[in-house]
């Protein structure tokens, strides 16, 4: 060590006495604090307490969820890296790998929507490029409060600008996503960002640090005071004073991230890096603890070397800062100058800030004193694992809401096409650059986005899905449905579903009924992943999404990724020409419980059982659809979800203004029921499609033919596609215009 000449601070933060109040302010329970003391073998000082508190926060330690996450299926022949690294990795053939993850930025986005959403996008991209991948697609799953809530419009505008501001600048296309509006999100919006990258299977980078004496290097932006205790904030409920927490929201700089991305890619082309980790939640603390712990080594840090943006920062602040666009790397000894040259050329900070030791401890020096000396293992893995009590969700009545016999199908269709849940998201997605990088084959608006693997015939299909109202009514079925819908959306393009990432957004796990929702949603998800060979390779848990005791609907968002070998075989979800035959695959029973028809037409807020998911049939239908697409027998496919069959058909009319005539005499239940596992199929050769379905023993119903500029059902429904398009397109821009 160099000799320190700085005089010790008077009133050093570590001289503060640790009182129960200070422990509570750090979000640690009294028994958790006792554990800290036991692991330390003494009372921790303030810096050490700060480090323990973030590492043991719900956000970093998954202490309430770990027990249940372990039960999810995480393996399969396609899986190269499952949960536990910065992102999951799957094999997509020919030495190519897809690297992806989804993460929440809910709490910061509610407090400061632009920066909260922007840094969510920035953080998830760093998770992906840390692994050696180049990000090629961003997705997002957003939930806002009721449209009539006074804050909703401001939050929508801020979040959308933030996502666009970051993704557009760095030059990664935002290719799709989903949006819901519901009063349960009035005080807790959800901003879940997903990133998918591409790497070579032999050039994947991991976080485990090895090599005693190897230099620990800090690169990227300078460290400021922003985001201190962000991970702790993300692990607490909100109340009316939460907006006072604005200073704990980080500020993003996509330009720096673009430079960091390019510099990292350049260095990764060499073999100088041993380990690399993004400084995300809990910043320098969590990145250094995780790298050293995963490699089974120790680490010594000299904070005087940390590039700082502000003066007089304490060690406590440097360790807990969540300033963005920073990475920590362990380099092979002797390769420092080569790496430094790359980072300096990109105009980024580069500093050797420490080295690996064999002590199994994290030792931190600052201004001439040792300010922390802690055992790594309990920091990383010693957080208590809670088996929180939970109560099963009461069974929702298995009956349908009573229908109105006189429902006018035309009016109901118009209402649904223009309702907040189904209306076009164009106002949002046109603010995202969906085309940069020149490989977006199908951007927002389809069932799944399709992004070509650059320079090949292969394409990734990507979809984000969950139906929170189903999860609320019956979490097991809702959990299954979220996975099944991702599977269906990917299959509808012709791609084979390969793996998922998830973002599990729930309320306060200390309440048994919320914990019950969590446990049951995971049970359903796990069953679906198992049955569909659709394992979980990465994910994130966001709990305490509550304000003043009002929890959100359980929202386990799924990000699915699939592969199609020849993108020229892929199909879209729109009618493209006249005189084609329209079929429905799957049985239509007319299940109206928890449907949008219930919410918007019957305006009934009672909780009824959602449609159930038959996983075996789901798989058969998916395989059948993919085979038909591969054989070129169908030329458009659309999954049937929110709003049911007629909404799906209407959506297929819109993109190319091609109508259809349906010869049928069913009731509202048939048209708007949300039975699962169904697809609309369109093709030229009706006999062939029917023969294939008969051969497979599947239910396929002939619906009608495409053509004209109206959607008509027998003599009962006549509505022009133009009119449908207007109600569908106008809702969101009109809503965003009203002040």
């Amino acid at each position: 060590m160099t000799e320190d000449t700085t005089p010790p601070r008077t009133n050093h933060i570590n001289d503060t006495e640790i009182t129960p109040e200070i422990v509570a302010e750090h979000g640690l329970m009294p028994d958790e604090y006792e554990n800290v003391v036991a692991h330390m073998g003494r009372t921790p000082n303030m810096t050490e307490l700060g480090v323990f508190s973030v590492m043991w926060s719900e956000h970093c330690s998954y202490k309430s969820s770990r027990k249940w996450l372990k039960k999810l299926p995480v393996s399969g022949p396609q899986v190269i890296q499952g949960p536990g690294e910065n992102a999951g990795v799957i094999d997509i053939g020919d030495g190519d790998a897809a690297v992806f993850k989804m993460e929440s930025h809910n709490h910061p986005s509610f407090i400061e929507p632009y920066q909260g959403a922007a840094t969510g996008v920035g953080g998830i991209m760093r998770d992906v490029f840390t692994m050696g991948a180049r990000p090629v697609a961003n997705m997002n799953a957003l939930r806002f409060g009721d449209p009539s809530h006074p804050k909703t419009r401001h939050l929508v505008a801020g979040v959308v600008h933030g996502i666009g501001g970051y993704g557009n600048c760095i030059g990664v296309p935002t290719v799709g996503g989903e949006v819901n509006f519901d009063s349960c999100y009035n005080g807790n919006i959800l901003v879940n960002a997903m990133c998918v990258g591409l790497a070579r299977t032999d050039k994947i980078f991991y976080a485990a640090a090895t090599g005693i004496g190897a230099p620990v290097v800090y690169v990227g932006s300078k460290t400021g005071r922003d985001g201190i205790h962000g991970a702790t904030m993300a692990s607490a409920e909100f109340d009316d004073t939460s907006e006072e927490k604005r200073p704990t929201v980080q500020v993003g700089d996509p330009f720096t991230e673009k430079l960091l991305l390019e510099a990292c890619q350049e260095l990764m082309a060499s073999d100088a890096i041993i380990a690399i980790q993004d400084m995300g939640a809990a910043g320098l603390t969590s990145s250094s603890v995780e790298m050293a712990d995963k490699g089974g080594v120790g680490i010594i840090l000299d904070l005087d070397k940390i590039p700082c943006r502000e003066t007089h920062m304490t060690g406590y602040e440097m360790l807990l800062s969540e300033s963005q666009e920073r990475m920590l790397m362990v380099l092979k000894p002797g390769r420092e100058s080569e790496a430094e040259a790359i980072f300096l050329r990109w105009g980024l900070d580069f500093a050797v800030v420490g080295s690996l030791t064999d002590t199994g401890r994290m030792v931190v020096h600052h201004e001439g004193r040792m300010i922390a000396d802690m055992p790594l293992e309990p920091l990383a893995d010693g957080a208590p694992e809670y088996d929180r009590p939970y109560t099963p969700t009461p069974l929702a009545p298995h009956v349908d809401p009573s229908q109105m016999d006189d429902t006018n199908i035309t009016d109901a269709l118009k209402t649904l096409m223009g309702c907040s849940e189904i209306a076009s998201r164009r106002w949002i997605y046109e603010q995202y650059d969906s085309m940069v990088m020149g490989d977006t084959l199908a951007g927002p608006g389809g069932d799944a986005a399709l992004v070509r693997v650059h320079g090949t015939k292969k394409a990734l299909a990507i979809s984000t899905d969950v139906t929170p109202r189903y999860c609320l009514a019956q979490p097991v079925e809702g959990g299954k449905q979220a996975v099944a819908e991702a599977y269906r959306n990917i299959s509808a393009t012709g791609a084979t579903p390969l793996a998922i990432t998830n973002c599990l957004n729930f309320g306060n796990p200390e309440r048994p009924e919320i914990m019950g929702q969590f446990v049951e949603c995971l049970e359903g998800m796990g069953a679906a992943c198992e049955a569909l060979d659709f394992p979980v390779v990465s994910g994130n848990v966001s709990l305490y999404n509550e304000t003043n005791g009002q929890g959100i609907n359980p929202t386990p968002a799924i990000g699915g990724v699939g592969l199609i070998e020849d993108y020229e075989k892929a199909v879209g979800n729109a009618f493209t020409q006249s005189n084609q035959y329209i079929f429905v695959l799957g049985k239509t029973e007319g299940h109206l419980g928890s449907s949008l028809y219930q919410r918007f037409i019957l305006q009934d807020d009672a909780i009824y059982a959602p449609p159930s998911v038959d996983l075996e049939l789901e798989r058969k239908h998916g395989e059948f659809v993919r085979d038909l697409i591969d054989a070129g027998i169908v030329n458009a496919v659309h999954d049937i979800s929110d709003g049911g069959l007629l909404v799906a058909v209407a959506e297929m009319c819109l993109p190319h203004n091609v109508g259809c005539h349906i010869d049928d005499n069913n009731t509202a239940k048939f048209w708007f029921g949300e039975d699962q596992g169904r697809y609309v199929l369109v093709g030229d050769d009706a006999d062939k499609i029917l023969a294939q379905a008969n051969a497979s023993g599947l239910t396929l119903t002939y619906l009608g033919k495409t053509g004209g500029t109206e959607l008509t059902i027998a003599e009962r429904v006549h509505i022009s596609v133009e009119q449908l398009d207007a109600v569908h397109e106008n809702w969101l821009p009109d809503y965003m215009k009203t002040v």
Binding site: N168, G171, F255, D433, G438
Partner: protein, 222 residues
């Protein structure tokens, strides 16, 4: 035809346009770093889209002052063709090769979508393969694409046929004066345009209307 693509920190369509140029010319373009002061001889210089210098200060203003731009201006003055796309167009106005300025979109939102364009001048080296008055579809993706200039400049541009591309009157995505999507200098050899022709150069990506700009350049410059 040999092309050079200038890479600024924050450029993000440099690879996209290079892929397109290589497909059309069969030759890899030179990728030239902004900090260089040597620009290899080339038939066309492309300033790509993106967020050079993070769009900080003002879109394109810092890039316009980077070392390589002195060379670009010199070459342009000697007659080398220069194509500025999106952020590249902003750089061309900032460095004075083209008049006017690109201000924030009228609705204050970033916009990424296909636009219908009218080819108003097919006598430039960039537009020779289009019909005069032809309507083509090429996407835009920008936050500051709203072309603005004083009336005198606008009259001069239209009088001299220097409005090369304009948005169809019912499809102006940003409020640009005279629906301007692309303009050229007096020689016709420097073109700045907000739409991205490199994003419409393959049927798999929706069409080839943009590709004709590059194949036309090859015909005009080889």
């Amino acid at each position: 035809m040999q092309a050079s693509v200038i890479v600024f920190p924050g450029s993000n369509c440099d690879r996209d346009v290079a892929v397109c140029l290589e497909a059309v010319t069969g030759k890899k373009p030179n990728m030239v770093w902004h900090g260089n002061s040597d620009l290899p001889d080339s038939d066309v210089i492309v300033l790509p889209g993106g967020f050079s210098y993070g769009d900080y200060l003002r879109c394109g203003s810092m890039a316009a002052n980077s070392p390589i731009m002195k060379e670009v201006v010199l070459k342009a003055q000697k007659g080398t063709a220069v194509l500025g796309i999106c952020n590249g167009f902003q750089v061309l106005t900032e460095c004075g090769l083209l008049p006017g300025v690109l201000i924030r979109n009228a609705d204050l939102n970033f916009v990424c979508r296909n636009t219908r364009l009218i080819v108003d001048n097919n006598t430039t080296p960039f537009t020779g393969l289009y019909q005069q008055g032809e309507e083509v579809v090429i996407p835009v993706a920008h936050n500051e694409g709203n072309y603005f200039a004083d009336d005198e400049t606008l009259d001069e541009l239209s009088g001299e046929g220097r409005i090369v591309l304009s948005y169809a009157p019912d499809d102006n995505p940003n409020g640009a004066c005279k629906n301007i999507a692309g303009i050229c200098d007096a020689s016709g050899r420097v073109l700045g345009m907000m739409p991205h022709p490199e994003r419409r150069a393959e049927t798999a990506l929706g069409g080839e209307d943009g590709k004709r700009m590059f194949t036309g350049l090859v015909e005009a410059l080889s």
